[in-house]
Symmetry: C2
């Protein structure tokens, strides 16, 4: 075991250690954990380090691999490679095949989006079939830096800069927990880990040219930034880390404020959306710009379920009206979320 | 008056409009405002737009120019140019000369740092001499984007990403208010403004090659990012804007929490630093990671006055010890700020 191998294993163990409170429910036979393994260096490193770690943590790892059908024979060979890898280590292994191109065509989304959705759906399905609570994916520190830059370039608030979280609910299956034990390990380190451990990874599926913008960031932007600051990857990872903890503070403050100045009502009409939220306009106007923005965003989140398509400009336009002397009016926040303004209150909902 | 000229003037007027509460103290003769004018396109645009705006706002603008003595004859010619510009408009004008290179040598700081400090000291001195309350500088939206990227690359938390603020206390003279009315106007727009208004700016002093990293960002990094997203400057300005409002939320939450879990004490020994801050360690350990970091940082700010040299790693090491079972110990946060740990409390100060 080289120093690097020990360091990677320590890091994997750190992320996989259950928090003191609330504890992961531990059944007699341990907690099942699905390991997403593409066959590339990152996921082989994750699988190997988790196996070295798992017995201590009462984790039962199960390997899962989805053949996306995007690279013909090479895709099938990847799947065989993963099956053999699992067999050699005596681990259970679930493999499935999909035609991502067909899905993308049918659902009219990009190959990238179709591939990710198919993969996450597959991982959640396997987890539910075997009763696993955790799904582990092999995103590394370089992926994190690229994600932060990508979101920065596309335009993002703090939520985007937080990057990927080490532990969070699985987006498509919130009853499962998604973990990323390698988020502080660099790509160079997972590759070195594979050499040190004499693993022989396949070309990583994330290196294909599906992800055009991400590849430009990886091969063009990050090397340039590295000439400005050789520690740029650490800097971006640390930024994501502090932003995540700052967001916790904001979330608490927003929740508290929100509860003080709003009340929610069910709408009786069977045709209407179930939820409307009424704000005390006078109290809201006394908030700082930050809390004004955050409470409007929170209302949309509660009405709609997510705020992905809520535009910054729409929030600012709404604030202009709500802070003005206008005593009555209607504002569109999104195509199906509107604000109805009166002098003392305003109501957000699918009006 | 072209559309652009009108737009720039509106934006300058918006920033210079006093907030409804608390109001700027307005004396009979209006509020004095020092305009820092280098003679470049940004500061000429600012001066011209402010003059068009000032009578409405009861602002009395006074032009100020510091000859940094860095470019010999050209520097002196800049000063003469600014003097003539002010005379032609019938504005009072203060001009001073310093030898920035000599200051940098003597104080062992970079030319960049010496120039900025000399400039801000000069502006504050002029403001105090004429009883002005405001100091206006001509930073534009491109400067803001560059600042955000520069800080991002060097490594920063949220405070750095906020970029420059449109209105804030002057760092070296907090009784004065520093305003940046052009923070949403691009460099191309200030140049166009000068053409539209037939102003004939000198080469901008900020374009000299003093600011090596900033120039690389301007001429290399931003053009690359623009190929990824043509709206990158807007995206970065908006990020700075939302981060600023998110920071307000955090500051409120931190202040409230800080007051709950600490008490400050004067130290009686005449040799010791005046201030120590005692934390309730049990209460502190129950905070989220974000509030743990923020309250430690706030304590250093109160003990030291600023946190510029407080390292992220030092905070994380301190958190490791404070969250551990260690019942006694000492931790260095900076070379002159230490934490003394007991089981139930810890004290931060110049111990």
């Amino acid at each position: 075991v080289t120093n690097l191998v020990a360091r990677v294993r320590d890091e994997v163990a750190r992320v996989l250690t259950p928090p003191p409170s609330p504890p992961l429910e531990e059944r007699g036979e341990g907690v099942g954990m699905i390991l997403a393994v593409s066959g590339g260096p990152d996921s082989l490193c994750l699988a190997d380090a988790t196996l070295a770690t798992a017995p201590d943590r009462s984790l039962v790892p199960i390997i899962a691999h989805l053949d996306h059908g995007l690279r013909g024979e090479a895709s099938r060979a990847d799947a065989e490679f993963v099956r053999t890898f699992a067999e050699q280590r005596g681990m259970p292994c679930a493999i499935d095949h999909v035609d991502v191109e067909a899905i993308a065509r049918e659902r009219k989304v990009s190959i990238e989006v179709a591939a990710r959705e198919a993969r996450y759906a597959f991982l959640a399905r396997v987890a539910d079939q075997v009763g696993a609570q955790l799904v582990a994916v092999a995103h590394n520190a370089d992926d994190q830096a690229e994600t932060v830059l990508l979101r920065l370039i596309r335009g993002t608030g703090l939520v985007g800069l937080r990057g990927m979280q080490p532990v969070c609910p699985m987006p498509n299956a919130p009853h499962l927990t998604l973990v990323r034990p390698l988020l502080r390990i660099s790509r160079a380190e997972t590759e070195q880990y594979c050499r040190d451990r004499e693993l022989h990874p396949r070309q990583d599926a994330t290196n294909d040219d599906l992800l055009h913008m991400r590849n430009r960031i990886r091969h063009e932007l990050l090397p340039l930034l590295e000439r400005y600051n050789p520690g740029i990857r650490t800097v971006l990872a640390r930024l994501a880390d502090t932003v995540a903890s700052d967001l916790d503070i904001i979330d608490d403050a927003v929740r508290e404020t929100f509860n003080c100045i709003t009340r929610s009502g069910e709408v009786s009409s069977p045709l209407a959306s179930p939820l409307q939220i009424e704000f005390d306009r006078i109290a809201w106007r006394n908030l700082s710009a930050g809390l004004q923005r955050a409470t409007l965003r929170e209302a949309v989140r509660r009405v709609k379920g997510d705020v992905t398509n809520l535009k910054y400009a729409a929030i600012e336009e709404a604030r202009d009206v709500l802070n003005s002397d206008a005593s009555i009016g209607e504002i569109a926040l999104m195509h199906d979320v509107r604000i109805k303004v009166t002098w003392r209150t305003f109501v957000i909902g699918d009006l």
